[in-house]
């Protein structure tokens, strides 16, 4: 048996909101069952420590993992603001445990490796998949995930996303058990008799002429066609927005228009959202952009976004091969949140229509998505809708 339920908490008191959401989530579980795992997505408008303390006060023995967001998603109320969404999972056939890797700022790869090592160490010798949430503002998301896959294997099913901070791009938080961390990666290992499926899709199309990445180091792109990298946004956004670009607001403004990276060795376009822009116009991403790759501005619209949601949901069902999903985690892109605006609920409605209205959904808007890619190698990407489903 695998069962899940959702709870949503809101209000001024962070502890109460957390406790309320957790109580609500646990009340939806089969009678007499306690939560084995809690997945928590909380707004940064809450006091993070009090929020997590509120959640754990209700279910102190459950494994807790989660992160702060750029907006929360749940099947009860769809896309919400300034809330905390808790998914409680209980199962007598799957086992859950948590792990953490710290100090992404100092050594991102080592942090990923540390998290993977702890996951493996606590696995009792068997781990079959993992959910992960990480910070991409303090270090390379690409390196952190590479650290994880170095230890777990390139094709190991790692799924998750980057934590958010309401589009401020300042500081994000990761939750593990009763603690709140910064600049870390948290993971939840799964083993036992269960099935998971994850699918990531984006509905963006290239617009305008292409540019070539002429200077790039690590996760920072310095130049495009010999000009400062941020010039691509300056040219497209126009004079009216130049001051915003230079006031450090570019990431929030550019989030709805990710850059499409076209490389010779990859037929599929990979999307990248800038998370930091310096005064000289160099842009930092969660993941590096290789030199000589072709860069184009990407754009989408609501209809295409909804179509993507439908395709992703159908693909998840296809991957589950007829099994009924018991819970869905949605790691959605902040780009899509900006694009959908007031119609953000519609994509969750579509997912529910296809997957089933009684399947609990919890999720959040993130700065990057991990896994669910079409290839085998685990990738970190932007602009995508990532669905993770668990079934018996």
């Amino acid at each position: 048996m695998i069962a899940a339920s959702i709870g949503v908490g809101k209000g001024k008191d962070s502890h109460t909101a957390g406790a309320e959401a957790c109580t609500q989530a646990i009340s939806g579980l089969p009678k007499g069952k306690d939560a084995d795992a809690l997945i928590v997505f909380g707004s940064t408008t809450f006091d993070q420590d009090a929020l997590v303390a509120g959640v754990t006060s209700v279910a102190p023995n459950a494994i807790l993992i989660g992160c702060s967001t750029a907006g929360e998603i749940s099947s009860e109320g769809f896309s919400t603001y300034n809330t905390v969404v808790v998914m409680a999972i209980c199962s007598d056939q799957a086992r859950f445990w948590g792990a953490i890797g710290n100090h992404i700022l100092w050594n991102a790869r080592l942090a990923g490796e540390e998290c993977a090592n702890t996951l493996t160490y606590n696995s009792n010798g068997y781990i079959s998949s993992c959910l992960t949430f990480l910070d991409v503002l303090s270090g390379s998301g690409d390196e952190t995930i590479r650290g994880m896959t170095n230890k777990l294997g390139d094709t190991f099913p790692v799924t998750g996303g980057a934590s958010g901070d309401e589009m401020l791009f300042f500081e994000t938080y990761q939750y593990l058990q009763n603690k709140v961390y910064r600049g870390s990666i948290v993971g939840m290992g799964l083993s036992g008799d269960y099935h998971t499926a994850s699918v990531a899709m984006h509905g963006f199309l290239p617009i305008g002429i292409s540019r070539v990445a002429t200077r790039s180091e690590g996760t920072t792109l310095f130049e495009l066609d010999g000009k400062p990298a941020s010039s691509i946004y300056e040219e497209y956004f126009g004079e009216d927005h130049v001051h915003e670009l230079h006031d450090g607001l570019l990431p929030a403004l550019a989030v709805a228009y990710p850059l499409g990276v076209f490389t010779d060795d990859n037929n599929d376009v990979v999307l990248r959202n800038p998370i930091f822009v310096d005064q000289k116009g160099a842009m930092t991403f969660a993941s590096g952009i290789p030199e000589k790759s072709e860069i184009r501005l990407m754009i989408s619209d609501i209809d295409r976004g909804l179509e993507t949601a439908e395709r992703a949901a159908r693909e998840v069902l296809k991957k589950l091969q007829g099994r009924t999903p018991k819970a869905i985690i949605v790691v959605n892109s902040a780009a899509r949140k900006k694009m959908f605006g007031l119609r953000a609920d519609e994509e969750i409605e579509i997912i529910q229509r296809i997957i089933g209205r009684d399947v609990p959904i919890a999720g959040y808007y993130s700065y990057a998505q991990v896994g669910g890619q079409s290839g085998e190698r685990v990738q970190i990407h932007n602009g995508s809708l990532l669905l993770w489903a668990i079934a018996e």
Binding site: G77, G208, F237, G341, L342, E349
Partner: protein
Amino acid sequence: MQNELHGGTRLKSTSWIIDARWYYAPLAFFLGIIAREDGDQMRSLVILGGSLFFVLLCNIFFSIYIRKTEKEFPSDKSVGTINILQIALDLLFFFTVMMFTGGGVSSVGHSFFFIPIVVSMIVFGFRGAIIVAIVSGVAVLVSAFIHLGIFTDLISGANPFIISPRFSNTLLQSGVIFILYLLTGFFGGYISRLMRARDVLLHEQIASEEVHVVRLEELTKAFDQSAKLLVRRDLELTSANDKLIQLDKMKSEIISVVAHQLRTPLSAIKWSLKIILDKDAGELTPQQEELLKKSFTSNERMITLINDMLAVDKLESGKLKYDFVVVQFEDIVQDMIRSLLTLATKKNIRVEFSSPRELLPKIKVDVDKLRDVLQNLIDNAIKYTNPGGTVSVGATKENDEIHFWVKDDGIGIPADEQEKIFGRFFRASNASRFASDGSGLGLFITQSIVKRHGGKLWFESKIGSGSVFHVTLPLS
């Protein structure tokens, strides 16, 4: 044809010939040295060396001239002059070599004349090749005659050599060489003509492609410009949308606070009025009772409005939990009609339920929420129908859905307001006049619940004739 040749190609050919001369001129010189005549060896060496020096000097001049002028796109005329000079220089040099290597047909020098023929074929084409072939043939003949002493004999008036067998042999050999030159010039010129024709065709194609490329570049620039406009427009809309979201949030918060703050005093008023109306606080005059009853009804309306507002807040904040269970749909409809029958009877309105011929398949719904949907739709139909009217309710199975509808012959919805009917706090202008109560939230709540069930809600309406509201709910 000459004029049609692309300037760049002509210049490239000229350059190539100048470069080739660095090799073939010294080669001709060395062959000349090896095959030079017996006699005054020193004199021939000096003349051949001097000729080579002159040729190389001229070649340096050509080379400098071409390099200098190629950046300035030299005219066809100046390139043509250089080429004439080059060929003339070659002819002169090879004539000198031929003169000092036995002269005429017995010299190895005549084979060098194929070089200017080929060169002229490259730079001047058919006509140039033929002219140079004739000049070369004449040069061989002249050289042969000089060597045979025919010109000396002619000048001195000595016995003419013409009739001797040696003369006729020389003439014959010179003639053969002449014909070979002509044939080379002819076929070379022919090939050159073909090549030029192909060259011209290619250049025409390139020119046409260049036009396309220029057009494509212009289009790409225009496309990028349009893309910029599109992004800017999109950005403006996104910003406007962000502002709307903020306003919407603020509105929701205000409604939530106001509704919560109003509910408690309104409840207090309700119970106070009830106590007075129940005469627990003393007797009332009929006039007082009537006034208080009006106050009680108005207070009830306000409480209903506040409750609707709180329902919307719950709906939007995610506090509304759904509990899906399998039910028989018709049972809920009949229950609902039964509960609203008192209201209908009071207004003298007939409520008909055309139950399906066969039992509908069971459906998974949240019963309480679905009751709200049915209540809102049937209650609205009764509310906006004139006394004596009829409200028909029906349900049927269509494909994989249950289709439910509520039809009335009431006031209808004005066409220009139909788009807004599912919005929050919206009431049609004629509805407000017809019935003063109503929060304008009922249809918004109804639509949200139907959507949450994966269904659809829509209506058909004609002002003065009535409305039909349809709901479909998926069975799977």
